[in-house]
């Protein structure tokens, strides 16, 4: 049950994964439309249901920031946290209900004139609908964006403490601190990728068991919803912790 991803190889080692691009666009559209609908006709005395829900999400992210760092200084990152948690949660949920598969024969497949890569096989199936976060490049892009934000803000707002913390608590800890700095974006991105990708592979394995797998699929879908929500929460919480540690440091010392 091995589905290929519809990859277009441009020259020079650059591969475009069309399914990932499609899902990123779909997820961005859904989050954008949801956010715009939630802030239409705002009212204080008579909030609608979507407005109530959006207020709850904003309060939830504010709690995350308050747990991670000092809220007065960390408030500027509220919109970043909100975008991250909504995008990752909706992205994790999208890959669960459907799949959309096309078949390719004779070792040759095109889409809108672009050649799809078939790894030398004669017949293959392409899967077009998956979570955007089930792609390692996507989650590493999110993780690298967040880590770059934390380093840049650390250097801009907190230069002395940021440079000093590489030598805390003892100067010979420098290699350990450098390894920690390199490990942060890796684990941040790969944690999200691994959780969602493993869930999707397990769904396709359970589907391969035909009707025997129906109760197993129910249980696994429920568990995947749970894991998707937790991973969105952990990603946002770790973002706030890393940004807060790098840039909002001064009052403690």
């Amino acid at each position: 049950m091995e589905h290929l991803a519809p990859i277009v190889k441009l020259g020079g080692g650059v591969n475009l994964d069309l399914a990932a691009i499609l899902m990123i666009v779909v997820t961005s559209l859904i989050v954008f439309i949801f956010a715009r609908l939630a802030v239409r006709n705002l009212s204080v005395e008579n909030p609608g249901k979507l407005q109530n829900f959006m207020e709850w999400v904003v309060e939830f992210v504010s709690n995350i920031i308050g747990t991670a760092t000092d809220f007065k200084r960390g408030r500027v990152y509220l919109s970043l946290g909100l975008a991250l948690i909504l995008y990752i949660f909706i992205g994790n949920m999208l890959g669960l209900p459907f799949n959309f598969i096309t078949e390719a024969h004779h070792g040759h497949a095109t889409f809108l004139g672009m050649e799809l890569f078939m790894d030398g096989k004669e017949e293959a199936e392409f899967a077009w609908w998956k979570s955007p976060t089930a792609d390692a490049s996507m989650t590493m892009a999110l993780a690298l964006t967040v880590i770059v934000i934390s380093h840049v803000q650390g250097v801009r707002h907190n230069r002395k403490h940021y440079l000093k913390h590489y030598f805390e608590p003892w100067p010979f800890f420098l290699p350990i601190n450098i390894i920690e700095t390199l490990a942060k974006p890796l684990t941040l991105g790969l944690r999200l990728f691994g959780n969602i990708y493993a869930g999707e592979v397990m769904i396709s394995v359970i589907l391969g068991m035909s009707w025997v797998g129906i109760p197993a699929l129910l249980v696994w879908q429920g568990f995947s919803v749970f894991v998707g929500a937790i991973q969105a929460f952990v990603f946002t919480m770790l973002t706030m912790v890393y940004i807060g540690q790098a840039s909002i440091h001064e009052e403690d010392h």
Binding site: T187, R191, G194, N195, Y197, F233, V234
Partner: protein, 73 residues
């Protein structure tokens, strides 16, 4: 050398599952102990426990992805 790939996949994920099981067990045992000492902190302790689970399970899940990669070679 297909059998070595399958063996590698099994070892990678077996050890990863061992780590995940022990780690989660430690987290939740301490959480249950904390709830029994102070029942009013139950919400905060549960939240922290789930954050801990998300962090501890990161490397075992990466080992699962590695096992899938080995199996498909």
């Amino acid at each position: 050398m297909e059998i070595y790939a399958l063996l590698a996949a099994a070892i990678v994920f077996g050890l990863g599952a061992l780590g995940a099981g022990i780690g989660n067990g430690l987290i939740f045992s301490k959480t249950v102990e904390g709830i029994s000492r102070q029942p009013e902190l139950r919400g905060a302790l549960q939240t922290t426990a789930f954050i801990g689970v998300g962090l501890v399970e990161a490397l075992p899940i990466i080992s699962l992805v590695l096992a899938f990669i080995f199996m498909s070679r």
